[in-house]
């Protein structure tokens, strides 16, 4: 502990470069282990020194400082501690603004590590409101982040910025985040959506699908999702579509982006992501109006092919169940369903709910031979 404390003196901005570099390398090593992290988090001075070095002129030092912050904010407790301390110190270390600025700077070397720090911070639900307020305080910040995300060659120093996807996903945990995303004025969501089927990075894909899920679970946005433009629906369905050929008649039903997909079309590889997408669809099935739209757009036909594929190729029983849940609703006539809104009109007693979960679990086991 004392040795850790001693390092602080070598980590002052005006220290000799070699000393700073060596001390920081040591600290970075420590943040890799749970005990090391704990030791550092207990020393406010140490954290402040790390904050200070993120500005360092020397690229390696600055980078190591930010990398240490990534490790320190990896768990909820650390994230909260770093965030709170950054507010408290004099002068305040505006960690969110610094991160946003670095990410938006197309010449920044540190855009990627900073995006990971921000992703870590936003994961903590209790911090999201505050972070969102900071990001919103300048009108340009969010649109610029969205641009940095959407434009693949945005950063001229080859930062990939994939971690912006989980950042946006985390921000949509809270209603205000969803509201901002869905606002027609900035068309943020519009820019993010295509990455739900971005093959090159599972982080990007996963984050984007997470946004979709957050938005779909909020019934407020069902009308926005099922508008005539279909862009959100397409983002959900695209990863579930394969190369199967449909009749011309069926093709006509589908959203235009999904018509006549080529033989080379593949499905989402990650079963967790497939399941999330199917859960999105299930959420959209809650009202009669949206069910009608989903049927008219040929969702049933897509899921029919998907189910065959999942049983044969994908072979994930949770996904199969998730798919069947949607199909079970869509296949029914509205007269059979007999209610407008599943969410508001059906109440499941607690004991029943548990029973259903158990039944599902038992059923899942039988799905794959």
């Amino acid at each position: 502990m004392d040795t850790v404390k001693e390092l602080v003196q070598f980590m002052q901005p005006n220290q000799r470069l070699d000393l700073k570099a060596v001390a920081l390398t040591h600290v970075l090593g420590l943040t890799g282990s749970a005990e090391g992290k704990e030791a550092i988090l207990s020393l406010d001075d140490m954290l402040m020194a790390i904050f200070g070095l993120t500005y360092d002129d020397n690229h390696t030092v600055a980078k190591d400082a930010v990398l240490s912050l990534i490790n320190l904010t990896a768990e909820e407790q650390g994230a909260v501690q770093v965030f709170e301390l950054a507010k408290k110190v004099q002068p305040t270390f505006e960690i969110v603004n610094v991160a946003a600025k670095q990410i938006c700077d197309d010449q920044s070397d540190l855009a990627d590590p900073w995006s990971m720090v921000l992703s870590n911070l936003t994961r903590v639900e209790s911090l999201v409101h505050e972070i969102l307020a900071i990001l919103e305080s300048s009108e340009q910040t969010l649109p610029r982040l969205a641009k940095a995300f959407a434009q693949l060659d945005y950063n001229k120093k080859k930062a990939r910025l994939h971690y912006l996807a989980p950042i946006f996903c985390n921000l949509t945990q809270v209603p205000r985040g969803r509201e901002l995303c869905c606002q027609a004025r900035y068309q943020l969501l519009e820019k993010l959506l295509p990455f739900a089927s971005f093959e090159a990075s599972v982080v990007r894909r996963g984050g984007t699908i997470g946004i979709l899920k957050n938005v779909c679970f909020d019934a407020v946005y069902h009308d926005v999702i099922l508008n005539e433009q279909d862009s959100i629906l397409v983002a959900i369905l695209q990863p579930l579509c394969g190369p199967e050929e449909y009749s011309d008649e069926d093709n006509e039903k589908l959203p235009i982006e999904l018509q006549y997909l080529p033989e080379s079309k593949t499905r989402e590889e990650d079963p967790d992501l497939r399941k999330m997408l199917l859960e999105c669809l299930l959420q959209l099935c809650s009202t009669r109006r949206s069910r009608d739209i989903l049927r008219a757009k040929g969702i049933y036909e897509i899921l029919r092919e998907y189910h065959k594929w999942e049983a044969k190729v994908g072979r994930d029983s949770d996904c199969l169940l998730a798919c069947e849940n949607v199909v079970d609703i869509l296949i029914k006539k509205e007269e059979e369903i007999g209610l407008d809104n599943y969410k508001t009109e059906v109440e499941v007693p607690a004991d029943q709910s548990e029973k259903f979960v158990q039944e599902d679990a038992a059923y899942v086991k039988t799905l794959l031979d």
């Binding site: 641009k147 004025r185 050929e245 235009i256 018509q259 080529p262």
Partner: protein, 395 residues
């Protein structure tokens, strides 16, 4: 003119000297003045005024005069010397700096734009660009304006490249960017258009037209891509269908009389395409009644049907030209022609089409199966059989 003026002056002096005038005196003076004036005019040298415009061509002259002309002289026209002088003042590189010159041409171009003379405007702006000004603002305006002129005459490609050059000189040129976006949309350059619209929206989130265009270009892109995918799927389907057909044909060893000799026997789509105009689908069967020079077509005939079945369908409705009712089941013979050998063969009516086709002398002709139907044991049959047939010659 000058003389006359002096004369008046003298008179005035004379007049001023006298005071009380009577009416008679006044009249007398007026008469005298008139007489003097006449005498003066009389005394002037007699010559015609020739400097002015000739009476018969004054309108033409008026049009040539730079002050009165109604339209600017077109390149190649003979120009009025005065116009030439003015032009020199305005366009001579020695009288003007490069910037002035460029701006003069810009003014001209704008003037033409106002009067919807877009081609002339393009010419003026081009001259302005040629003036070699190095002022980026002036260049940006010149390119932007030429882009506008091109846009109005629907030269979208030129309009786009000019707008982009204007943006090169002035990156925040909203007008040029907006036009570039519109051109890109017209040219189906969806990605270029999308990017330009996004740049516009970055500066002004509430740019309604840009938003609309962004959406329109997106929809157009999606549709184009869908159509390409559909065509690809269609082509693939056609190909598999053709391969199936080809396999079937090769399996049955069907022969074609228009297939070139010597080459490897290859079934091509061309061979299978019916050459008879009214037929467009693939598998075709054709019946010919030589007597009436009349053909009947049957399409989508199963190969397991016999010729009798075929005739039954044909004769189900009596033919209008067959007054004697010669053409009915049992009263006709069916032949096919072997054009290669110049022979005809009789078809056994109880054989299926597949069996007939498999006969040695049968060739598919012009992408179709061709049969001749004639009434049994009649003059018509004789004539048909005795027709001159020459074996086909191959090139």
């Amino acid at each position: 003119m000058c003389d006359f003026f002096v004369l008046r002056l003298n008179l005035m002096e004379e007049l001023a000297a006298q005071k009380n005038w009577t009416d008679e005196e006044r009249l007398e003076l007026a008469a005298r003045l008139d007489a003097e004036l006449d005498a003066f005019i009389e005394g002037l040298e007699k010559k015609r005024y020739e400097e002015g415009w000739p009476e018969d061509r004054w309108q033409e002259e008026m049009d040539k005069h730079p002050f009165f002309m109604k339209k600017a002289p077109q390149p190649g026209d003979e120009v009025h010397p005065m116009f030439e002088g003015l032009q020199k003042l305005k366009y001579d590189p020695e009288e003007n700096t490069r910037d002035e010159l460029a701006l003069n041409y810009k003014e001209d171009g704008n003037f033409y734009m106002k009067h919807k003379k877009f081609r002339m405007a393009v010419y003026s702006f081009s001259e302005g660009i040629k003036s070699k000004t190095e002022n980026p603002d002036v260049l940006a305006v010149l390119y932007n304006n030429r882009s506008a002129a091109h846009y109005f005459i629907k030269n979208y490609r030129s309009a786009l490249s000019d707008a982009q050059r204007a943006l090169f000189y002035k990156p925040d040129y909203t007008k040029a960017r907006w036009r570039a976006a519109q051109c890109a949309h017209e040219l189906d350059k969806f990605d270029v258009c999308t990017q330009l619209c996004e740049e516009l929206l970055e500066v002004d989130v509430d740019h309604k037209e840009a938003k609309t265009l962004l959406h329109r270009t997106k929809m157009k892109k999606l549709e184009t891509e869908r159509n390409q995918r559909r065509e690809a799927a269609e082509a693939k389907r056609r190909l598999t269908r053709f391969h199936r057909l080809k396999d079937a044909i090769e399996q049955r060893a069907i022969k074609f009389d228009d297939q070139r000799l010597g080459k490897k026997k290859e079934v091509t789509e061309e061979l299978l395409r019916p050459k008879f105009l009214p037929l467009e689908d693939h598998p075709v069967h054709l019946d010919n009644y030589p007597e009436f020079l009349f053909s009947d077509f049957q399409q989508q005939l199963p190969e397991t049907a016999t010729m009798s079945d075929c005739l039954a369908t044909l004769f189900a409705e009596p033919m209008s030209c067959d007054k004697a009712n010669n053409y009915r089941q049992g009263n006709v013979h069916v032949y096919y022609e072997n054009r290669k050998a110049g022979l005809v063969h009789k078809v056994a009516l109880e054989k299926t089409i597949a069996e007939t086709i498999a006969e040695k002398g049968f060739f598919v002709s012009g992408g179709a199966l061709l049969f001749y139907v004639v009434p049994k044991d009649t003059r018509i049959e004789q004539e048909f059989l005795n027709q001159q047939r020459r074996p086909m010659v191959y090139s």
